[in-house]
């Protein structure tokens, strides 16, 4: 498999705290990679560095053959990345459908003048319904986000990220806060998206689901690489068990 995303020598500091130190991560085309590690390991910081939300002290980031290290967030997204948030962040003034339709219209808002002269939203609404169906929340399409439960909003995050038609979907704890039944269903949904050819990088603490759906694991601990490889083999490594499970 070819490498689609390569993050090398990633070092991030927040004031005097080193969040990531010389971290390396590669993602292969079409794989389902789970990024795991204890709280404070630097998982979210790594994803935020890849998308440009966090500015690193040092990092070399490549998406395909393109160096994206110095690009602003919106340009990295346009090259094929999408990110969902650990704590859901829907657009509160929009309905569920509008949230996804806005993301689906990413080509229409690329440039200022075309965005001003374009009115029609019907194609994007149609596409949005398809994405909502994919994550099984189409029945909530006309509802305001403030009235919906976390399970629906977590799925909305996924649908909205899919709507920007990414090559790589970066999911930050999509199962957090969900009960085991909801978590299992959403993990299945994400797996089915992966099977359709979208490369997935998922941060998750729910280890049973992680082991069930992932092709490969990448483990961080205390801002450093700890291990990476096939899920069961990684989980059998004593240092991973010690750092992550405390056993």
């Amino acid at each position: 498999m070819t490498t689609i995303l390569l993050a090398e020598s990633v070092t991030v500091k927040f004031g005097g705290v080193t969040a990531l130190e010389d971290v390396h991560m590669d993602v292969k085309q079409g794989e389902f990679l789970s990024l795991i590690g204890p709280n404070g390991a630097g998982k979210t910081t790594l994803l935020n560095t890849i998308t440009g939300v966090v500015t690193p002290v040092n990092a070399s980031l490549k998406l395909g053959n393109k160096d994206i290290s110095n690009l602003p967030t919106h340009k990295r997204i346009r090259l094929g990345l999408a990110l969902t948030h650990q704590i859901v962040r829907p657009f509160k003034s929009m309905t569920i459908l509008e949230n996804v339709a806005f993301a689906a219209g990413f080509k229409k808002v690329r440039k200022i003048i075309p965005s001003l002269i374009t009115l029609n939203r019907s194609l994007e609404k149609k596409k949005a319904i398809e994405f909502l169906e994919m994550v099984d929340i189409a029945q909530y399409q006309d509802q305001e986000v403030s009235k919906l439960p976390l399970g629906v909003l977590k799925r909305l995050e996924v649908a909205r990220a899919l709507a920007v038609e990414p090559q790589i979907l970066l999911l930050d704890e999509p199962l957090a806060g969900l009960n085991s039944q909801e978590a299992g269903k959403l993990a299945d949904t994400v797996k089915s998206i992966s099977k359709q050819g979208v490369t997935i990088v998922m941060i998750e603490h729910n280890l049973s689901e992680v082991l069930r759906v992932s092709d490969r694991l990448h483990v961080l601990d205390n801002g450093r690489n700890l291990a990476q490889g096939e899920p069961k083999a990684v989980m059998n490594q004593p240092e991973v068990r010690a750092a992550y499970l405390g056993i």
Binding site: T51, V53, P72, T73, H74, I77, R78, A82, L83, H85, R89, F91, K92, S93, M94, E98, F102, A103, G105, F106, K108, V109, R110, I112, P114, S115, L116, I117, T118, L119, R121, R160, V164
Partner: protein
């Protein structure tokens, strides 16, 4: 229509352009501005100076529109670095800076302002027609923007600009566009005001005027075009019809602003929607 009514309606028309223009920045794009009157002033001073050297009205108004829009875009650059309360303070600074600079410039008339601005060359009724034409144009443009994909992008920026970024939106470009369009429209209002009064002084475009415009937007309902227009008409006419209010105008605007923020953050527009919902429900 008597001269008094024509004059009153002209003032209402100018304020509608101003309120709609601030609504573009604060209501649509979520960027708070407490210095909007400065751009109103830039338009007025540009038109006053150029008309005195003989430029025709269509060129002076265009120049006022452009001058305010260009300086507004430069001020808008600050919105790329600071947000919310900090942006409010920066734009408040712009309001004070404008008056402070104008007061010290001899060629701008200093404290005494600029008098003897040439006439627009029309009857007062025809001029009212021109002002109302621009007011309606501003409303229609604003209404159109809201329905376009640009309006959709403004909604996203106003809601959560970090999320808008991770959906691929060039948030900086949209913020600057909102500032450019809103401040240019304020410049046009300023130009129309200069021809309307033919005498301008720096204090007309001070911080209190910025708060007055913001009151119109907040009372109408931030982001609601028709609510803002309705509130503007109400707030401009009220002190005229009830003369005693005129003495307490600032107090009234302050109380209204406070009451709206505390009890009805969505303004008259939100109140109207609530009534309709109750009627339907």
């Amino acid at each position: 229509m008597g001269l008094y009514e024509i004059s009153l309606a002209t003032g209402v028309g100018i304020y509608i352009i101003l309120a709609v223009s601030l609504n573009m920045i604060t209501g649509y794009c979520g960027q708070i501005s407490l210095g909007h009157a400065a751009f109103y002033g830039i338009g007025a001073y540009t038109v006053a100076l150029l008309s005195k050297i003989g430029w025709p009205i269509y060129l002076t108004l265009g120049a006022g529109f452009l001058a305010a829009g260009i300086i507004g875009t430069i001020v808008g650059l600050t919105s790329l670095r600071v947000r919310e309360d900090f942006l409010a303070i920066v734009t408040m600074g712009v309001a004070f800076l404008f008056v402070g600079i104008v007061r010290q410039q001899e060629f701008l008339g200093g404290e005494m302002g600029i008098s003897g601005i040439p006439s627009h060359g029309m009857s007062k009724l025809a001029y009212l027609g021109l002002v109302l034409f621009f007011a309606v144009l501003s409303i229609l443009f604003s209404w159109y923007v809201k329905r376009s994909w640009m309006g959709f992008a403004f909604d996203a920026v106003a809601d959560d600009e970090d999320t808008a970024k991770v959906l691929g939106l060039d948030v900086k470009a949209y913020k600057l566009t909102a500032f450019a369009m809103g401040t240019a429209m304020a410049g046009l209002a300023g130009g129309l005001y200069a021809y309307y009064t033919r005498f301008i002084i720096p204090d007309t475009f001070g911080f209190i005027e910025s708060i007055t415009i913001l009151s119109m937007v907040a009372v109408g309902g931030i982001g609601s075009i028709f609510g803002v227009v309705f509130a503007t008409i109400l707030l401009v006419l009220m002190p005229e019809f009830f003369r005693f209010i005129n003495d307490y105008k600032l107090l009234l605007y302050g109380v209204l602003l406070f009451s709206v923020m505390r009890f009805a953050p969505e303004g008259l527009s939100g109140f109207f929607k609530l009534l309709v919902r109750r009627k339907d429900g």
